[in-house]
Symmetry: C2
Subunit: 401 residues, 2 copies
């Protein structure tokens, strides 16, 4: 890996230069205060919003047997996963690169008999062998998200997006754009139109590049339809209006109508979202079977979160949304610093306890740096040296000048 | 591993039988609500108490290079560590079995120039190849703790124990016993008394078993002193009083006096702790150089936490305390369940938002299980099916009968 790539991957959330690039593997960082607190408190805020909508917190383990975690939808994760041998069973274990397949496993097994809709939330750390994309910052990634398992309806899709929107608003992330897509629409259309398998890869690439000229050339009987779909991308209501006028074969039509119905359901619960629709976008969606969403902070290229509809274990309908707190927390202000108060050797314990109860951090004087009866000048110097703004002497708290 | 050992290691915190012992590797578990919430909220409570005493939260990564993490004091962890190769550098990386050596690394490098006393806190997940002791429950272990780096004084030792005591009290753990020990005392005494290296292992085992007869037989010139030390173990003040009357050579005497001074300093800040002293206990302490503490819930064999004084990187004095939240939270009541309120299709969004703001969980009606206009009987049945105690219809919240 080049030095530039290494430093891009290894940087901390505050863009501090790493202390020593050689000390930690690329993509693994030490977080300090306030970043570590911002992240922890931000995750707690997200989980609080999820819980308030009935999403029950679960905590699957960091490692699982390869044969369990990488089964089914998890198979796509195989090349991103670190593996170790379990010395006990001699079976391979995987350090999870993603929490979603674990939730699917739990929903199908231990929670298989729990009533549906099953609403679950999770927050935890994952490790990938290499970052999925250049803009992603690490190999240790944090995920916090929700899964709504059971119902397959526009209202269910909309609930997941709406709960995500409320969580971001609670965190204070400004100007979020919610970009809805329907990844299975184009493949269904190409199949229904009988586009030959030989042409499809080049056509998909042209669609991915939004290259209308190449689409016109490769699209055969559906070239005009595909170009109309490309042009429909934009603000949600306008896109839905255009979609309604595009003639589509039955399966593609059903996907298009479901996308429109999801926009309607979402507007019903969250009228003010900045919502866009791109019916052609499919990049990065592997196992999704319905509406998907990507969340961006307006003006930033990094995704704040993503999710969508898929089939969980045993083909049970499910819709999920995952935030990347380590990315998200670059978009919000750092956790408010606590007021730091130095406790002089004569500070009254009850007064110190009151200050802590009010949200202050109290730093006790400790020998040998702070010998008892060293005098107020020494105390003030110590307080300053330790980054305190106030000093407590007796029961009196004074701001340092 | 036998089936019995497997199920003991794999059990959940609530002693539920695992859904399928074969699904997850031994020592890894799925936590459900309320356990997952109890743990997360409990960790937040611990971290809040630590922060209120000026301990700044840091978050070192889950993996590090072997040569970094297992250097120095970390070497003792080698056999507990899973390793994988970094495909980028071809160097071995370690999945951390312990966070403490990471804090030591940060204190010596990136925070090397930060003012002392350096107060740091951390919470995170570790993985060990096999549980350290039969009574420990997992290979995925959680740690939350503090490190006080720089000062070497009885007041510093006392601060760490006192902050830990406050954290346990805040969590509501009842009847905690704080057992102080001084692991280097006996080795110093045996060395100063010139006990031959050939005899020492058997003598240490006898002391470990508290076997006074064997100690009398093997202890030579210090047999009487060792038996007096054994007998001194007990409630702190009584133990300190007895220790003061035992004649000891200089280094052993210094350790004994430091133990007594720590008791005094601790009583000064926390007069009401249930505090015991065992001057002979050394089991489980590997690299410690001063006062150590083990925290037990009275009547339970499991440790809630442990810590003590050691030399950090570059021989800097340090004192730390680590809690095991996964063990700790078996000793406290589960997180209070949120009131679950079913939102009938006609529920007013503003009324639902108010209920969430008051701490309730609202579960929206979703088609197809809850078709719009299905009627109040259907709504109530749905609410019950989803474990709700109340239903919101319009702006009216009603308790289910």
């Amino acid at each position: 890996m080049t030095g530039a790539a290494c430093s891009a991957i290894g940087r901390s959330m505050t863009d501090d230069p790493p202390f020593s690039p050689a000390l930690l593997p690329a993509g693994f960082v030490d977080l300090l205060t306030p970043d570590a607190r911002t992240e922890a408190e931000g995750v707690a805020t997200l989980m609080g919003v999820f819980a308030s909508h009935g999403y029950d917190r679960v905590r699957p383990p960091l490692m699982e047997f390869e044969e369990t975690l990488l089964a089914g939808a998890g198979a796509a994760l195989a090349e991103q996963s670190f593996r170790v041998m379990d010395p006990d069973t001699r079976k391979m274990m995987v350090l999870r690169p993603d929490i979603t397949p674990q939730i699917a496993r739990m929903a199908a097994t231990r929670l298989g008999a729990a009533p549906r809709p099953l609403r679950l939330s999770y927050a935890g750390t994952c490790v990938v062998v290499m970052p999925a994309a250049a803009e992603e910052s690490g190999r240790q990634i944090m995920q916090a998200g929700i899964e709504l398992i059971g119902p397959d309806s526009p209202q269910a899709d909309a609930e997941v997006v709406a709960v995500g929107a409320e969580a971001l608003a609670r965190l204070g992330v400004p100007d979020v754009s919610f970009d809805l897509t329907m990844p299975p629409l184009v493949p269904a259309l190409l199949e229904e139109a009988g586009i030959s398998a030989a042409v499809r890869p080049a056509l998909m690439r042209a669609l991915d590049r939004k290259d209308a000229a190449a689409v016109a050339e490769l699209g055969g009987a559906v070239a005009e339809t595909l170009i109309a779909l490309l042009r429909a991308a934009g603000p949600a209501e306008q896109a839905v209006e255009q979609l309604a006028h595009i003639s589509l074969p039955p399966r593609a039509r059903a996907f298009s109508e479901r996308l429109a119905a999801t926009v309607t359901a979402l507007r019903h619960v969250k009228p003010d979202l900045c919502l866009t629709v791109d019916p052609v976008e499919f990049r990065g969606w592997k196992y999704h079977t319905g509406v998907c969403v990507t969340l961006f902070a307006v003006g930033r290229a990094e995704e704040l979160g993503r999710g969508g509809r898929y089939l969980s274990n045993e083909n049970e309908p499910a819709c999920g949304l995952t935030f990347r707190p380590d990315v998200l927390f670059r978009a919000i202000p750092p956790a408010q610093a606590m007021r730091r108060i130095y406790l002089a050797p004569d500070a009254q314990p009850q007064a110190a306890a009151r200050l802590r109860a009010e949200g202050c951090a109290t730093l006790a004087a400790l020998p040998p740096e702070a010998p008892y009866r060293a005098g107020p000048e020494h105390d003030r110097a110590e307080a300053r040296r330790l980054g305190c703004s106030h000093i407590l002497s007796g029961a009196t708290c004074t701001e340092l000048d």
